[in-house]
Symmetry: C2
Subunit: 332 residues, 2 copies
Amino acid sequence: MTTYTAINLIKRPTGGPINADLFEVVQKQMPTVGEGEFLVKQSHMSLDPAMFGWMSPDTNSYIPPVALGDVMRSSGIGEIVESNHPEFKVGDRMMGMMGWQEYFLSNGQGLNKVTASLPDEAILSIFALPGLTATQGLFNVGKPQKGETIIVTGAAGSVGSIVGQLAKADGLKVIGVVGSDEKADWIVNELGFDAAINYKSDDLDAQLALHAADGIDLYFENTGGPIQNLIIEHMNPHGRVMVCGLIADYNKQVPTPGPSWMNVLKRRLTIQGFTMPDHFHQVPALLEKLTPYVMAGKIKHRSHVLEGLESSISGLNLFFTGENKGKLIVKL
Amino acid sequence: MTTYTAINLIKRPTGGPINADLFEVVQKQMPTVGEGEFLVKQSHMSLDPAMFGWMSPDTNSYIPPVALGDVMRSSGIGEIVESNHPEFKVGDRMMGMMGWQEYFLSNGQGLNKVTASLPDEAILSIFALPGLTATQGLFNVGKPQKGETIIVTGAAGSVGSIVGQLAKADGLKVIGVVGSDEKADWIVNELGFDAAINYKSDDLDAQLALHAADGIDLYFENTGGPIQNLIIEHMNPHGRVMVCGLIADYNKQVPTPGPSWMNVLKRRLTIQGFTMPDHFHQVPALLEKLTPYVMAGKIKHRSHVLEGLESSISGLNLFFTGENKGKLIVKL
């Protein structure tokens, strides 16, 4: 084999669904593995909502956008197939930001060796961005206390499902907001959430009053959308909002307004945005926090696996439609 | 004298200007001063934006609303004219929540002796709610660092003017948002702010870009209003917003929406509401923090004094029109 396939970003999204013309599929020359380098053959790539941020031109964002013409950024997992690096050998499983391509040449920087004997899908679903994000946001931003009530939007999503299970394991009352009855069933009956609210139902306020009768202390936000305004109205004094994602707004040119700050003032709320690139140096501590929950069998997951490198392009739109069932993963 | 005058709240505001029919002016019997009690003759009362919250029926607010038929809540200062309390003697100056009335009977709880030899107006303008609020919000919520840039809305107001001067004394770049050229002149040329922006001007975004060329790290919010959305667009990563007041929204039935959380996420902002009743136990520490700035002559103030108890009613509307010049005080 002398070439491999990669997908470059060549245009920025301007709202609406992600179209194939934002990308070009290219054949690249297989690289020569130099001294201190190794080559990874990716087996699975992760699709994450954060990718919409990476494609956007906003230079004020938390991470530089992918440059036009560069390989689309993504995290993934694979095996070393060739190595001239003393610390990494052929057959080692590696995880990290390898992008939309079949092979990745590395000097080791930014990649982590995978030691847990779990399948690729489980690694990408729990120990990669979703689990790290859930752990950082819930524990280090939200600072939950046993007995508090937390509401999680996008609760059947890759991050939300872990947040809810971690909170449940720590003795919180956990309410999940989802977009289908199937997902509602999954988070309550499989994951053990206390309640689920389908945001497409027409009595959201009544649902919130019913399931959060004692008010909401923590609000883990993955989606945005009009339910934001209602949730804020049900929050208790000194409530904390962790803003992790706003998928409902990623493909809008003008994002919808947020709630008035009147409740922020009257209820003395704290609303805090966070993104993982600020916390990559904390990854070892985050994994140390997360691992015991996983080992105790308290974190279930499900993966939605797409086949083939190019399926990633249309796969991104599943975030907008909510049709994915579980963590989106592309099998190469 | 066998009676004195008091003003009771008898109706709740429903939006728009404050009308006299929300209140009744009553004559009350002079009380008998019992054992362990003393009687204060109020000399000056403070009018504060927080009073709109105290009049509102919202039981989710940070402090119970004034009950209909009760004396309107307010802070003030006065002298003890009769005492049967061992620790307080006739002539002592007392400060605290004494309400809209000429006399206040107390057992000492909740009132503080005034020891600083400053005029009543200076005490109410600096060492009462405005200075305590400014100190708590700026230092304990905002955690400012030398060299950062802060923007303060309502910058010529009782709280904002102190926030800006404290920040300036600590080596921050200070931008004030005001509603008149006269106020802009005052905060820059008298108080030493680095820049002023009149929010009624038509090039707010350009003004922000000009005066906050390096972005905004701290945003002390007293007013609300459309400039909120623009300020958020100029904030630096990890910026902090202290929500202290939203005067532009107090007399609206439906508050205007806030900024989208997209910038909260991308810039990892923290938006935190705070109100003083949560921090009354910290008053000694706050005064200890504030006093050296005052003693060093770094905190200037100006008072707008209204004459007579009943002037407080229409006086509240000055907060909406912005016509007050300095801390609103009612002289009895």
